[in-house]
Each structure stands twice: as C-alpha cells, then as structure tokens.
Symmetry: C2
Subunit: 363 residues, 2 copies
C-alpha cells in the first residue's frame, strides 16, 4: 500500500534526504563516525553547520544584515524569547489569527515589563479569515507587530503583509517557511520550528535583523539572541543531527529550483485540492477563500459522523494523519514542500470515491 503522510508536523521529509541520511548513518564521508557522533567543534561538523546556513541564506535570499540561528525549544520558546529580547519596557502589537497566535500572545503577556495590544482578531468568525490591518492601527512606538504567517490548525495564511511603517514585523513562520513567496527583508524577525518544512523536531530557525539584537543581556544566556549570534549558535552543543538533516533538505530544495519553485508547486498542489472541495457535493472548506493556506488545508462534510468515517477509511487506505486537529475536528491535509503532488491527486480520487458512496446531495 502506498502511504501518504498528511501530518501537520513532525511531517513528511523528502525521500532523497532520508535515503542519503540512511546511507551515511554509520559512516559520514569516510570518517567511520555517524553525524550524531561528531563533536560539534570538529571541522567535519563545522562544515555541516556552515553549509546549512549558507544554503538557507541562498534559498531564502537572506540579506547580509540578518543573522541566522539554529536554536532549540520550538516556536513555543520563541513566544517568550522574542518579547524578552526585543520588548521589555515596550509595547508589542499582535494579530490574533488562531491557536498559535493566541499562544504567542499569552506568552508575551507573561513577560514582565511588556505591554501587549491585540490590534486585530478573527476570533469572531472562529479564525476563518485574516483580519485587515490598516497602517493607522500600527502604533509607531511599538517594538514590533507579531503575526503568524500561517495558522497550521485553522488553515489560514497571510498573502499580503501589513504595512507597518517603521515597526518591524516579527513572524512565526513555522508552517510555511520556505514554501511561500515572502521576502526576508519585509520582516524584522522570522522564527520557525523545523518539523514542517525543514527537518526533525527539536530544531528552531531564527532569522533576525542585526539592529534588532537586544542591547541589554537577557538573564539566561541560552535565551539571549546576542549571545547566540556571538557564538554562532554554539553557546552550547546545538542539535547537531537535526541541523545536518536540515542541510540535506536545503540542498534538496535548492536542486529542485529553490523557494520560488516550491511556491509554484505548493500552489499547484493546493489548487488541486481546493478545486475538488469547491466542486464537491459533500466536502467544504471552513476557511475564507482569500486567506486559505496552501500548506494546511482543512475540510469538512458538515456531519461529524461522516467526517469520522472518512478519517477511518482514509487511514485504512494509506492516507495517514488526515484527521483534523483535536481542537477543531474534521479533516486536514498538510501538504508541505516534501509532500508529493501524486499524494494530493490520490486523495482527490479517494474523496470522489467517498462522495459516491456517502455523498448524495449532502452539501
């Protein structure tokens, strides 16, 4: 049975990357050592982390005045680290677009000396759209405006970025980094957990503009961006193996044509699925058309028993992890960079089959 893994994260990785990792697992480049066994201070490993950074800079076109950090703790630790580094004694602005934005807001509120203002929210319609942001809504004294570029659970994404004047945008880009057409120079800080488009869980990418580095030290060196920058992500031992896998993913992505080609393919994959949903007598999208994510696509029948049946039958047919997040139900197809177009086509065929068996006029 062909298996398609629709997991929202940890998610599918490119097969050529896994094959190379497998080949090299016990003997990296003739060293007779696994990458997991390499000292992070060895020249062999130093090449890996430096190449990982260089490749990420290339595929994301990261300008020279931005630093790239390979950290740990996921986006959830960044929810606290960003205000701690950038906003003590200041005000920060948030757009509340769903589950992940809410977590970021809650964490910022708990950092002493940080004033939090939610300037827009789509909570009124169950986070099914991205609220509009006008330049007048941006307090020019704010340390930053925080957005979640893509809500993994709700399935909505920013297509256009807000106009914010001199206030930098800080973005949780965990679920659509490297899969969209954002430009790094439009952000002050970008952070992302690796486990969707980059590599294994436990690695966090932070891209930060030099002028935004904290002037004052943060109480904990591990939480201090400037300390991490000065130590080139090696204040302590980084997640060495995860960085190696990320490097292989960046190589794979570069060889396929880079971020622009990923974006083209992701749009294509999403269109196939959205077209199916639009034309379906049974399935529908709970999300406003203009703000639909191309990486996380929720859909429902409107009948939770039928949703359950679909999930059970889909799972049995090899469509893994298609169940919607426990907080919202229904179905969700997470189709990140490594997810093959054949998997989307197979899902669409399966949905058609399911309609024939269950869907007469149910929409």
């Amino acid at each position: 049975m062909t298996v398609y893994n629709f997991s929202a994260g940890p998610a599918i990785l490119p097969k050529p990357v896994l094959e190379q990792a497998q080949n090299e697992l016990l003997n990296y480049r003739g060293s007779e050592m696994s990458v997991m066994e390499l000292s992070h201070r060895s020249s062999l490993y130093d090449n890996i982390i430096k190449e990982a950074e260089a490749l990420l800079r290339e595929v994301m076109e990261i300008p020279d005045n931005y630093h790239v950090l390979f950290l740990q703790g996921g986006a959830s630790l960044q929810f606290s680290m960003v205000p701690l580094n950038l906003a003590v004694g200041k005000k920060v602005l948030f757009v509340n677009t769903g589950a992940w934005a809410k977590k970021a807001i809650a964490a910022a509120k708990n950092v002493a000396g940080v004033e939090v203002e939610v300037i827009a929210s789509s909570e009124d319609k169950n986070f099914s759209y991205i609220p509009e942001i006008n330049p007048e809504m941006i307090d020019q004294d704010a340390a930053y405006l925080h957005i979640t570029t893509n809500e993994t659970i709700g399935g909505i994404a920013f297509k256009e970025l807000p106009t914010t004047g001199k206030v930098p945008i800080v973005a949780d880009m965990s679920s659509n980094i490297l899969s969209n057409d954002y430009k790094v120079e439009d952000f002050g800080v970008i952070y992302a957990g690796a486990q969707k488009n980059i590599g294994p869980a436990g690695l966090t990418i932070v891209i930060i503009r030099d002028d935004l580095l904290n002037a004052e030290p943060v109480f904990a060196p591990m939480l201090d961006y400037r300390v991490q920058v000065e130590n080139e992500s090696m204040y302590n031992t980084p997640a060495t193996y995860s960085i190696y896998i990320a490097k292989l993913v960046f190589e794979w992505l570069k060889n396929l044509g880079g971020q622009a080609e990923m974006y083209r393919l992701n749009q294509l994959k999403a269109k196939i699925l959205y077209d199916k949903i639009e034309a379906s007598p049974l399935f529908k999208s709970p999300v406003s058309k203009e703000n639909r994510s191309i990486t996380n696509i929720p859909f429902i029948t409107g009948d939770s028993d039928l949703d359950k049946l679909f999930c059970i039958q889909a799972e049995a047919a090899g469509f893994k992890n298609i169940k919607g997040h426990r907080s919202v139900g229904g179905m969700r197809a997470s189709i990140y960079n490594a997810f093959p177009i054949e998997g989307v086509e197979a899902l669409v065929d399966f949905m058609t089959q399911f309609e024939l068996e269950n869907g007469n006029g149910a929409k």
Copy 2:
C-alpha cells in the same frame, strides 16, 4: 583503519543502535514512515516516548515520586531553569568544581531573586580535585545544593555525595549519567544533556522529585517544570527523533546488564588507562587520584609541544578527538558507556609506542 572516537560529546553511540536506526530510517515498523516523520501525537510515536521513559526508569531505578522529562536546550538551559523554578526568593548553594560548575553558578546569579553561595571550590588547584563538603557547610534553609557530578573538561567526579540534611542535591549529571552507581533517591533534581551517554545532542533529560516542582508558574511555559510534567514533555513538539535514539540506547544498555554492568565496565576501562598513565615514564594525570573521573580522562606529558605531536599522530592513527579541551590543553580520553574496551587497549598500546619514540626519561 579502525577509528576510535574519544569525543567528549557529541560522543560515540552504540553500533547496534546506529544499525537499527539505519535499518528503520525510511520505514519504522512497517509504517512506510521515518520516525522523524511521525506525528508526536500518533500512537506509534506515543509508544516510543512512553517506552523510552519506562526503560530509563528501569535502568536508573527511578522511584515513582520522580518525574522524567524529555526537554531541549541542554544543561546550559537547565543552569537557568533550575533556579528559576526552585529558588526565586531563596538561597542556593554551589560547589565550584570547574568549567561547568562555573557556568551553572553564573547563570543562577543572573536569575532575579536568587541568592547564590559557593560553599566550596577547588579553583585553588586548577580544579584538580573535589573539595570536601561537611554537613555544617549546608545552610538548612537553602533551596538546594548544586553539584556537577562529573567535570567533563577537568576530569574529576564525585564518588561520594555530600551529606546535606534536608537540603536536596541538584546535579548536572551530563557526563556520567547511566555510567556510575549514583542512586536517584539521593538527588532532588538530576539533569543531563543527552549527547554523551544517551543519544543525539538537542535532548535534555530532567529527573525531578515531585515535591520540588514549582508552586508558582514560571513566566515562560517552556521553562516551567510543572507545565512540562503536566504535559508529559509534550507542551510542544519534543525532539522526537532524539528521544527515539535514546530509547534504543536504553534498550541496548538494559540488554547489556543495566547501569551496574555499565559501571563495572567503565571502571575496568578507566583502570586500564589510569594504570598505563601511572606506570608511564612520559604521561601523567593532572588530577588528584581520589577524584578521578572514569568517563573523562585527561593526561599530559608536561611538554605542550610533545602533547601536540601526540595529538597529531594519534589522530592520524585513528584515535579521534583525543585532544584536550581548548581551555586546558593536553589530551583527554572520553570513554563513555558506548566506548569499547578494545579502543582503550589500542590507545594504551599507542601510548607505549609513543613513549618508546619520544619518552626517554621525560617524566
């Protein structure tokens, strides 16, 4: 050429573990998915993390009133997390035994509301011994006494634990967890970076006694032990693949006879090398005999040019990462659980050969 990897961390892993990881890399138990690709909420992954915890509890004989956490950020993040959770508004006691203890002390001093007292230090003799701790030195109102059970760089280790009355011992056990005969019930908190005796870098084990969990929430949920306990290490996505490798290592260790057998083997390996050093006309140990580490064994010739020559020739002969830490120089053999006894014997033979070529009466 046979390669022996003496790296202090990330360090050698058991070959059977790497072979199993390699076999399963693209297809974990018939799922057609890599463990890296498994959702952390899937039943397949849930079994992995639960089994990892059960195995660690078994091999370390962890009592039921202790929690086991799989966190991120290394011991360096624990240096800040422990005082943040256990000691705000209180006093903490430290024993200064070297590079790692100093980092822990510095981090605790930077946590607001924590009073730090260093009750003993071996800095006077370049951290070549473990200072004596008398019960009278322990302020019974202190939140805890912090020790570094094994100094990876200096090569000294606690054989006996201090008597502390009702004050719990908090231990950075990064470099000798699972390789010694410590009893968990003698500690309040044990923490360890995984990259020496457990698995890949980027995973941190915390073992904490239930009554020591923080009463007040910590500002950042990711830094809050109680939040992590309540979420069974899944407040966010944990380092899933590293936990899987750790599980394989715990299995390997259990099958070999558990921690007691590891301790026996480690003593044996260390004795072979220390006996050689003792008898050598050229090599000597910079460390007090009673406090010598069995996992990290520094040695010198007393002539830094000769040390350099030894490191170059050893490297060329397949003895990798034998160079001492850049802060102390000389040589260092890190011989953790996964390091084979044959590697120690081969090193001893190589040292003998080097003596013959360079060592006439140089001691």
